[in-house]
């Protein structure tokens, strides 16, 4: 089953956006729930985004240096 991983909302009052620094997982690799998928930066700090599921990363849908926002699909897992 394919599962779309979205960037969760942090609950900010203002726009929640971040820039993709780099991926920590390659397409085709297996990730466990809680493993870090990607590193992002906001104005304030760098963040890692954990995988919400265990599965195989079949497609990255954002690239390094992309600006992304809460709710955007960042990758697809086969779970």
């Amino acid at each position: 089953m394919r599962y779309e991983v979205t960037l969760p909302s942090m609950g900010d009052d203002s726009d929640e956006s971040a820039k993709v620094s780099f991926w920590l997982v390659k397409e085709g690799e297996i990730v466990m729930e809680g493993d870090d998928l990607i590193e992002l930066t906001t104005d304030k700090a760098a963040f890692t985004v954990p995988s919400p599921k265990t599965g195989t990363l079949v497609a990255r849908t954002v690239d390094e240096d992309d600006d992304i926002a809460a709710g955007d699909v960042i990758c697809i897992l086969e779970v």
Partner: protein, 297 residues
């Protein structure tokens, strides 16, 4: 976006069911948190741990410090039921340690002190075993307002000096005054019953080690027994730039320095904020002795 963060300025993005539960509870109760308003990088971790720092008196501040992302402007009227809603959140979250802070409200006659008092009282009723920590503004130096808060017997009274005195004009602006903040802390330290008195400040604004030492000495002299030191991080491009990312080893030096000067509780690390892991910082005395939280008010 700043892609140039050192490796130690890194946190987990907020995610997972526990994070969502905290976010939804805060939204349901219509509360503000400094976690959101200050864009705290730790909120993913804290909210996953089912804890948050409540910000009362609205989300608009009457001051405009150069480092802070909290909105500035004419605030909305205070919501009279806010203390009860905060208390309800503490009860639902089953917090053992609740931290309540506020925006600065220079427009209110008592600076909002009576709402701090009401919030402490409401938490006592809703969740009697909870350790209550307040982190207040300077109330314009009005000690009567400080007493209004202290009379409700918070377990921890916090007021942050935020930076070293030399940098007050550029970091805090003309409305804040270092000596006044020390007087607020001193007043709390001399109050009966005496709370644990706590302060915090940021580094990375261009201060020297000697200035950090002198600030710690001032805080000890004022009666502070707890201190938090963390890295300043610019929330948005509208705020003051970071002058320096202080390495973790230097925070270890500050930790040792603070303990050597007599602080009983010290948290010094890049991602420390004044209420970060507040429950753990102050946990020890409450494990060994009856909590002041159960004292008669």
């Amino acid at each position: 976006m700043n892609k140039g963060f050192p490796e130690w300025i890194r946190q987990a993005w907020g995610a997972g069911p526990d994070f969502r539960n905290t976010r939804e509870l805060i939204e349901d109760l219509g509360l503000h948190t400094v976690c959101q308003s200050a864009r705290c990088p730790n909120r993913g971790q804290c909210w996953r741990r089912n804890t948050a720092t409540f910000m009362i008196l609205g989300d608009v501040c009457t001051r405009n410090c150069a480092y802070c992302a909290v909105r500035n402007g004419p605030p909305a009227p205070v919501q009279p039921d806010e203390p009860e809603r905060v208390a309800e959140a503490v009860r639902r979250m089953r917090l053992k340690h609740a931290v309540v802070t506020s925006v600065t409200r220079d427009d209110l006659a008592d600076g909002g002190a009576s709402y701090f008092a009401q919030t402490i009282q409401a938490i006592r009723h809703a969740s009697p075993g909870t350790v209550v920590e307040v982190l207040t503004p300077d109330f314009g130096g009005a000690v009567d307002a400080v007493s209004t808060v202290l009379q409700r017997v918070p377990d921890v009274f916090g007021h942050n000096v935020e930076t070293v005195p030399r940098l007050y004009p550029s970091v805090r602006g003309s409305a804040a005054d270092y000596a006044r903040s020390l007087e607020v802390l001193k007043w709390a330290a001399n109050f009966t019953p005496k709370p644990i008195v706590k302060s915090a400040f940021m580094v990375g604004h261009g201060e020297s080690r000697q200035e950090v030492r002198e600030t710690l000495e001032d805080l000890v002299a004022a009666g502070c027994v707890a201190v938090c030191i963390g890295q300043y991080l610019r929330p948005t491009p509208s705020q003051r730039e970071v002058v320096e990312f202080v390495p973790p080893q230097q925070f270890e030096e500050y930790d040792e320095m603070a303990r050597a000067l007599g602080f009983e509780y010290v948290a010094a690390a890049p991602l420390v904020r004044s209420s970060y892991w507040a429950d753990r910082l102050i946990a020890a005395p409450f494990a060994e002795t009856p909590s002041p939280a159960v004292r008669e008010v």
